[in-house]
């Protein structure tokens, strides 16, 4: 129980760190002076000190939605797979519920975009609606394939099962599921081929456009939400697709877990440096690859038994 609480606390507290880490790696690769790793915390602290300015066109939704953007993600954190085997965990919640919670968070984020009557929020919401509608089928199919490979739909149980019975007989479908899931991570977190998290150009922005009218505490909530969302996806990815190190004692296991996430962040940073952002209407091509790979994962599970 205590380990679980520590694990959740670590996930919440370290969430901004990894986003800063990606940014720092990118800057370092571009021969810029990297920003300090604590930059994410500094930003949040600054936002907390600031006064909240609410747009005069905004309604109650702006005052309520930021909480409902963050709360489902915090709820989702409870269901993450354990870091170490002895840890107590909520095993019964399945992956559909998790995607539902993520969609709930996105739903309110899109409402924020439409609330302040500015055209930019509308752009962001409209694009986000488009992308997340196409992410959904890929996500569900990946979950379907994973639930077959791991013999369980429960998130935590699936991760533990993958650790004890590494699917050597289903490597092909396991690999395809991993590829599809990785593309979905990029899409859901607004990383570069899909969305550029650092830009404020109206041509390119998706996530940033929706939160343009938020400030202070509300913006802090939404920013924390996007950091935690990344943490959730990274945790899912590392515990499903590199299910090692769960057997170790808690502190070592935690260190391994964080190292894995840092490694994933490194890969994402490398991809971000090396690719250009896709045009909005090219994004479906990438998501289409994710969907086809998810299909392929299922088909090769059934037909090749691999």
């Amino acid at each position: 129980m205590i380990y679980t609480l520590i694990h959740i606390a670590v996930m919440v507290i370290l969430a901004p760190l990894f986003l800063s880490l990606i940014k720092a790696i990118k800057m370092w690769l571009l021969f810029k002076k990297p920003l300090p790793l604590l930059q994410g915390y500094n930003d949040l602290a600054k936002l907390l000190r600031k006064e909240v300015i609410i747009s005069q066109e905004a309604s109650q939704i702006t005052r309520i939605a930021p909480y409902l953007v963050l709360a489902p993600l915090l709820t989702a954190l409870l269901f993450m797979p354990p870091v170490t085997k002895g840890e107590w965990y909520i095993g019964f919640v399945d992956a559909f519920t998790l995607t539902g919670l993520l969609a709930l968070s996105t739903f309110f984020l899109m409402l924020i975009g439409l609330d302040s009557a500015s055209a930019f929020g509308g752009i962001g919401s409209s694009r986000e609606a488009f992308i997340s509608a196409l992410v959904e089928p890929g996500m569900i199919l990946v979950i379907f394939a994973l639930s077959l490979i791991a013999k369980n739909l429960g998130i935590a149980e699936a991760a533990i099962h993958l650790n004890t019975h590494f699917p050597t007989h289903h490597l092909a479908s396991y690999t395809f599921a991993a590829i599809a899931f990785f593309i979905l991570i990029l899409a859901e977190n607004g990383r570069i081929p899909i969305d550029n998290p650092e830009t404020h150009l109206e041509l390119t922005m998706v996530h940033e456009a929706m939160v343009l009218d938020l400030s202070g505490w509300y913006l802090a909530l939404v920013e924390a939400a996007s950091a935690i969302k990344y943490m959730i996806f990274a945790t899912l990815f590392v515990s499903f697709f590199s299910p090692f190190g769960i057997g170790a004692p808690f502190l070592i296991a935690l260190a391994i877990y964080l190292a894995k996430i840092a490694f994933l962040s490194l890969i994402i940073a490398l991809i971000e440096v090396n690719t250009a952002k896709l045009r909005l209407f090219k994004v479906p091509n990438l998501l289409g690859i994710a969907i086809i790979f998810a299909f392929l994962s299922l088909i090769s599970y059934y037909m090749l038994g691999a």
């Binding site: 005069q56 709820t75 439409l114 009557a117 055209a119 509308g122 488009f130 959904e136 088909i299």
Partner: protein, 625 residues
Amino acid sequence: MFTFDPFALLFLFFLLLGVLPNLFYAYGYLDHIQRKWHFWIHYVAFVLSMGGVVVSYTPLSFLFFWEIMSLSSWQLILTDPKEESTQKAARFYFFMTHFGFVFLLLFFLLVSNGSLTLSFDKLHAIAQNFAYPSLLFFLLILGFLSKAGVVPLHVWLPYAHPAAPSAVSALMSGVMLKIALYGFMRMLLEVLYPWPLEWGILILVLGALSSLIGVLYALAEHDIKALLANHSIENIGIILLGIGMGMIFLALKLPMLATFAFLAALYHIFNHMSFKSLLFLSAGSVLHQTHTKNIERYGGLIKSMPLTAWSFLLAALSISALPPTNGFLSEWMIFQSLLGSSSIANMALKISLPFAVFALALTGGLAIACFVKAFGITFLGLHRSANAKHATEVNAFMRTGMLLMGAVVVGLMLFAPWFLRRFDAALASFGLPSISQKILFSWSIHSLTHNGGVVSPLFLLAMLIFFSAGLVLLAKRLRIRKRIFHTWACGYRTTPRTQYSATGFAGPIRRFFEWLYRPDVHFHKKTLAGHTTKFSTALYDVHIRPLFERSLYDGTKKLLNRLSYFIYRFAHFEQNRYAAIIFNLTLSVLFGYRIVAHQFSWATFALEAIILAFTIKILVIGEKR
């Protein structure tokens, strides 16, 4: 004549849930209606006939109440018959509902050997001895599913449902469609069982198609009530996915999984009734206050109509299948039953079922987009027209109606296990195994399959409330200062016209599915002094006619037109050609008699056909002029 078995009682309860809040609302809505007596008589007749359909146990009474239901709802569409479009919609509805009725009548005549007063339990033996059971099934599909609005028999629905007064739209979309599904399920489980595997697959395919096509056309719709009506098509599709999975599992002798799938379908029937009614009621309130159905003329209504807005939001969350609402729970169950396909032995079927999963998931994603659009454009931002500016909250009766319906939505979420037990008991009366012991444990719902999962609505709700409350308390503790002021809109003044429109919001998705929509785009721009980028006024207008309407219905219409033109030409010939037609007819009758009564051989048949063709060519058609 009548039955009160658990299944019928369940649907009576369903009617009660659907009608009671609606009654309040309809009373409040009355000042909008001129022919009050006309409305009330047909309203009551409509509700009672639906009850009649549910409890009847002979074909005769079933058909009688079915017809009353159709006719009264037809008259209800015509409550306010001034507009041309309303009359057209009513005519379309009248035609389609009787189109279905013919097949229903045929079905009942066939399965009852012509004696329509037999009770339903006697029909099974007759249906078993019937030589072509698939014919019965097709009649059933055409009869019931044309009423339920399943693709490709759905085209009337987005016209007919919005034309009625909002209370009636809620009844028609929320309740009447489910009565059609009730009839379908009862006939299937009571008369036609057991069925071959292909029937289930057909229903599954129809469900997947309906769900996708419904949601895609909903996204492109600007009329808020037509949008909701298109979503009814989508949800009927989702329900059919559940029923189709149940049929497949039953055909494959997996009765437990079949019960689970049927439970999911029944639960979604109830849920769809609740949230669709609530959506129509709150959309009706908006309509009542703003006197327009066009979503582009709303905006900012959450400030003047808070209760309406919040009830719309609740229903929108539920229809988008977001946890922990009831819509999520039933869609979760349908996903679980699709996941149960991994225990099927038939490999070809097993690897095709992911397509259904794909359809359902894509539908879910698009539904979220659609309801962000519907809620965001209607209730958020600035008012887009004077109508929206002067809107106020609706009267107390309508508010009561919405609140009660909201309570039904929440109740279906909170007491999900209780409802599922009732559904289980109702299905058990058809000989399906009871599984409530296996899937319901202390307020959580378990899946039956070995790779399935668990969901617990109360736990999710509690956690969401806990975290939100914690964050609110934290905000209180931090003493967040708030100020209401201009925010930076990139240097532009924020006016109603700078906002995103519904057309714009759906733009990316519309562009992605352009090959399906084939929109008529009108783009008028008054440019300034020859610049292409500078203009004084611009109008961008998109119209989308449903593909099915264009291809299937217009095609049929064209074919009929052409046929009738030929008949017309035949009927208006000169006398000698008239005589020639009679000559040919007599000849063909003689030939036909020879073939039927005498003896059949292909050689003589071919010879006679050739002779007939010759005489027709020479005498009737003649030379080309």
